[in-house]
């Protein structure tokens, strides 16, 4: 009955590879997000998406792209992985934007070697 689920939990890959992280929410929320947490625990918003609008944090490299096949899913695709992409990536969802708490997934630890 996990509300926001991400797969995989761990991902180890070589530089230059392309990888995807999947996210699904069963809460009926209309907005989903991707956050990146670095080694110092700082959390940075990467994308915000509902069925009407994609908001991209302008600091996110265009190697990162969100793909949403439907309202309950927001996958993260990363092309040409770099060492600096190593981090924990969190998916989250909320009902509306900014007026309610977010529900987070348990995270995907990405290690680029």
């Amino acid at each position: 009955d996990t509300a926001v689920s991400q797969t995989p939990k761990y991902l180890v890959t070589q530089m230059g590879n392309d990888k995807s992280i999947k996210c699904e929410q069963n809460l009926g929320h209309d907005t989903m997000y991707w956050y990146k947490q670095d080694s110092k625990k700082f959390l940075k918003i990467m994308f915000s998406y509902n069925n009407k609008e994609l908001i991209i944090n302008e600091t996110v490299p265009n190697r990162f792209s969100p793909k949403s096949p439907d309202k309950a899913h927001l996958n993260l695709h990363i092309n040409s992985l770099e060492l600096g992409d190593s981090a924990v990536y969190f998916c989250a969802s909320s009902q509306g934007t900014g007026f309610y708490g977010y529900t987070f997934g348990s995270g995907t630890r990405l290690t680029v070697v």
Binding site: G98, G101, Y102
Partner: protein, 110 residues
């Protein structure tokens, strides 16, 4: 850049004591939220306080908000070992994006 700055960065207390964490932010906000993150886990939403509210309670949690000083505090009363975690404040502004502070690492010793 981070919207919020949290103070202290780390806090160690004995079980039963109260823990107070502070958060300062830079821009006008719609609301401020506090989250808990246990080691190796996702973030859990604790409490939300709107910009027109000054204080809010939830169980052993008490949150205050001072918009004139652009600051908030989270008080955990009668702390327990299970409260050991990182605590983050986060704000939403007119763009409604949730922006996080750097977090306070709380350790509660049994």
């Amino acid at each position: 850049s981070q919207q919020g700055e949290e103070d202290p960065q780390a806090l160690s207390i004995q079980e039963g004591e109260n823990a107070t964490m502070n958060c300062s932010y830079k821009t006008s906000i719609n609301n401020l939220q506090w989250y808990r993150q246990n080691s190796g886990r996702g973030l859990v939403h604790l409490i939300l306080i709107r910009s027109n509210e000054r204080e809010k309670h939830s169980g052993r949690l008490r949150v205050t908000l001072d918009t004139s000083k652009k600051s908030s505090s989270l008080l955990i009363t009668a702390s327990r070992a299970a409260d050991t975690a990182s605590y983050f404040c986060a704000t939403t502004d007119a763009g409604n994006m949730l922006t996080f502070g750097g977090g306070t690492r709380l350790m509660v010793k049994p």
